[in-house]
Point group: C2
Chain length 493, copies 2
């Protein structure tokens, strides 16, 4: 099937329609929005195996992974449905009037979060379902009360069109206004840029490369009215191995990490691309065991040729840097559409001098940084950029020898993991999927879990309004029964 790029005229019409839809959709009750989000989940499930096979064809991902990702997609539709049906997410605060206060009376003031306006979402290459058309950005924005315009990722346009059709059906079945969700195609940068620059666009969600995310961020900030961009971009997810624990658990740690490095041909934003350890016998055993594990993993087809080419280029660049040597690679070479698993190592002094060694190599690759001593080890950690995750493998007692480690790491990452692997992002209220730049463009928000809704909302206060004119969330009788802070006290009053 061929998809045609949206014209300038078409994108303008799309935004106008989105704005008109916003003026009614934003006022829909949580119950009504919940019905819509649940209908999206139902309609995606109703696409059945057709969707699974189309996605397999377009992305080279195996069936089990796609079925799993579809489950995650429909789950987050239902999770956000529950959240908005409950309604407490709006952070309602009520301060009642004190008309007799001296020297001046205190007015009645009430505040809640309201939706920010039309949101443009860019589908992600590596999550054709869970971070694309009905992905986390789209569904959290719809839940907040914002209409969404998705720009389909050109690598899986057919999958995107099928999911868009499901959302369209859900809109019709649950009586949503026409422009609540819209879907456009664009093979290059132009359509996306036009969407981001349009004055009626109020926020942007993006998952992809640092170059792509940064370009949209700059574009959005240069608008006459700057708008927030939530771009999840680049993370090498350092794994820090403490020496005594490594001596003891070198082989089991290697085995766990090999699985995480090669999972999904390494095409996860949480892929562990950097391993940091102090030279000792444990590190040598670990590197050897990791190399042996990696040798056993076959090259896999990558999502699309662009990603495979990019992996080859970035890998070649990394391996060409001074001091970098291959520790082990897949026994089979694979073809040019595949990602060949590889682990390399480099001395810490080179990592410290050479910023290229801290760049993401998107694919089944990891670089071991060998530190001569404690000081070098901490110097490497201090030099890390912002990350989605940082993992420490350590017996808890060993932290007493590295007291400041967690204190420093917390500044570097959005999620700290102890004795686990960074891949596998649980969708739950406590999940933070975000982190300091360049992991994302805004470390204050998560892209996964219920709090992702807050990216698309802003507070508004109502002063001296009577119940008749207030939204239900702020009426005195609390007709929705939501959690609110009333005169400083939390409760369901």
């Amino acid at each position: 099937m061929k998809y045609t790029d949206a014209t300038l005229q078409e994108t303008s019409e799309v935004l106008n329609e989105s704005h008109i839809a916003f003026l009614s959709y934003k006022n829909f009750s949580g119950k009504k929005k919940a019905a819509f989000l649940r209908a999206i989940a139902d309609e995606i499930e109703a696409l059945g195996n057709d969707l699974v096979h189309t996605t397999m064809k377009e992305t080279n991902l195996p069936e089990a992974r796609i079925v799993n990702e579809r489950g995650r997609t429909t789950s987050h539709c239902r999770m956000f449905a529950d959240l908005v049906e409950d309604g407490s997410w709006v952070e309602a605060r009520i301060d009642t009037a004190l008309p007799d206060r001296m020297p001046s009376p205190k007015p009645d003031i009430r505040k809640m979060l309201v939706p920010i306006g039309p949101v443009v979402v860019f589908g992600a290459a590596n999550f054709p379902l869970a971070y694309s058309t009905a992905g986390g950005d789209t569904v959290s924005a719809l839940a907040a009360g914002c209409p969404v315009i998705v720009k389909a990722h050109p690598a899986h346009a057919e999958t995107s069109a099928m999911v868009a059709g499901a959302i369209q059906k859900a809109m019709e079945k649950t009586g949503m206004p026409k422009g609540t969700f819209q879907h456009v195609f664009g093979s290059g940068f132009e359509v996306g840029q036009t969407l981001v620059k349009h004055p009626l666009t109020k926020a942007v969600g993006f998952t992809g490369s640092l170059a792509g995310g940064k370009a949209l961020f700059d574009l959005a900030n240069q608008r006459p009215e700057p708008i927030p961009v939530f771009a999840e971009m680049s993370s090498i997810n350092p794994v820090i191995l403490l020496p005594e624990t490594l001596q003891r658990d070198a082989e089991t740690t290697a085995s766990k990490l090999a699985g995480s490095i090669t999972l999904g041909v390494g095409q996860f934003c949480t892929n562990p691309g950097l391993i940091i350890a102090i030279e000792n016998d444990g590190l040598n055993r670990f590197a050897k065991a990791l190399a042996q594990e990696i040798e056993k993993v076959l090259p896999g087809n990558m999502l699309h040729q662009g990603i495979a080419d990019n992996y080859a280029t970035k890998l070649k660049q990394a391996l060409a840097q001074k001091g970098v040597s291959v520790e082990g690679q897949s026994a089979e070479e694979g073809n040019t559409s595949q990602g060949r698993p590889l682990v390399a190592s480099a001395p810490a002094e080179e990592f410290i001098k050479n910023p290229l060694l801290a760049e993401e190599v998107f694919g089944p690759f990891s670089l071991i940084i060998r530190c001569k001593h404690r000081d070098e080890f901490h110097a490497v950690i201090n030099r890390l950029h912002g990350q989605l995750t940082a993992t420490v493998v350590a017996d808890e007692n060993e932290f007493s020898n590295h007291k400041n480690l967690l204190n420093v790491l917390i500044e570097k990452a959005g999620r700290l993991i102890l004795n686990g692997v960074p891949t596998g992002v649980e969708v739950c209220p406590a999940m933070n999927h975000g982190g300091p730049y360049p992991a994302t463009t805004d470390s204050r928000f998560t892209a996964v879990g219920i709090d992702a809704i807050k990216r698309f909302a802003r507070p508004v206060s109502f002063q001296n309004f009577s119940d008749d004119l207030l939204p239900d969330e702020l009426k005195s009788s609390n007709p929705l029964g939501i959690w609110r802070m009333v005169n400083g006290q939390w409760g369901k009053n």
Copy 2:
């Protein structure tokens, strides 16, 4: 007294010290931070009349206003002390492990807000105490656990130095690390730019002009690592008069608004600079009554000569626009350091064509927009930029004739006021002092009230950590007794 601009070398030392302080200050308990914030309030009070007289001398503000503003400053120190001592502000979420879940076990994940890092705050000209050295930005950042560097406003450098001395004393008395609060001088733009560009700076607070705030915002976004800027900049705070109510209440409305327009020589960010109404007999009576009230108000000394000159220039520009005519002005002309109260009016068709008429004239000025009919009235409202506030004067029954009015206004402002005036910003949990651009650079946060703390915090998740390594806020036993969401349920468990 003379104050010397900080050199490049000095600002670098300041940031290094701030970063070192951060690594310990961020871990201080809410109790300890609360003691510090309360000590700041005490030390400011201990400055007694010396502070009041110095501020009077530097700002031309009357004693009562300064005493009042000092009260607001010490109150917000104590409000944030209470907030962090309580501790629930960190939005703790706990999802406990499900080791037997199929197909994969669920790990234990816990999340909370942590401080973002060193914050640079620019003192505001129009609030020498409440939005300057120990102002809302400084105190909310310190409460979050961020060290603060204040760049004193050159117009009240001595006031700023005195308050900085009080904070210094509070730091010493409560055992805060050396760089927790620092104070620098800078008469031009250079010092501020250097502070914002320094890699160790993690956020910026600013209150002032659109040009100044936008310049800092651009600078911060162009850094190798972009950082958030909370700039409160420009708002004309439209007041919308519905016609039937205006017919009835023309004179009382005029009297209330005259007070709000001229309060503090009009030098408030919430000053009502625009009044929108439909032509009728009520509007003529209102304009006449407002003119009469304004004529009675004497010109007042403005904060400093720069502000007085700027008022004169912007006023001259506004009055020179096509269709603008003076309705009334203070009977006395005043001198060049004073702001002469003035109200003018313009036909809606000119307002719609001429963007200069929507620009802020900082001072005791307001422009009445006369709309020929309903359609023009709503066209004017649709054209409004982002605002801190929007006020509607209306009998509640009259909204049935203007059903979409509030629906549109909510997109334009951070606070809606019914039958009141926009000046007077109550410090309480339900207050939102913020709004869409150009009112601020980030409509998702408030600069006033407890939620101002969230500007300076970011979420971090801890996966698979035991109690020993977790912050108190996330330990299973809830030793701090704070509100948390545990497995989806709010409570103090």
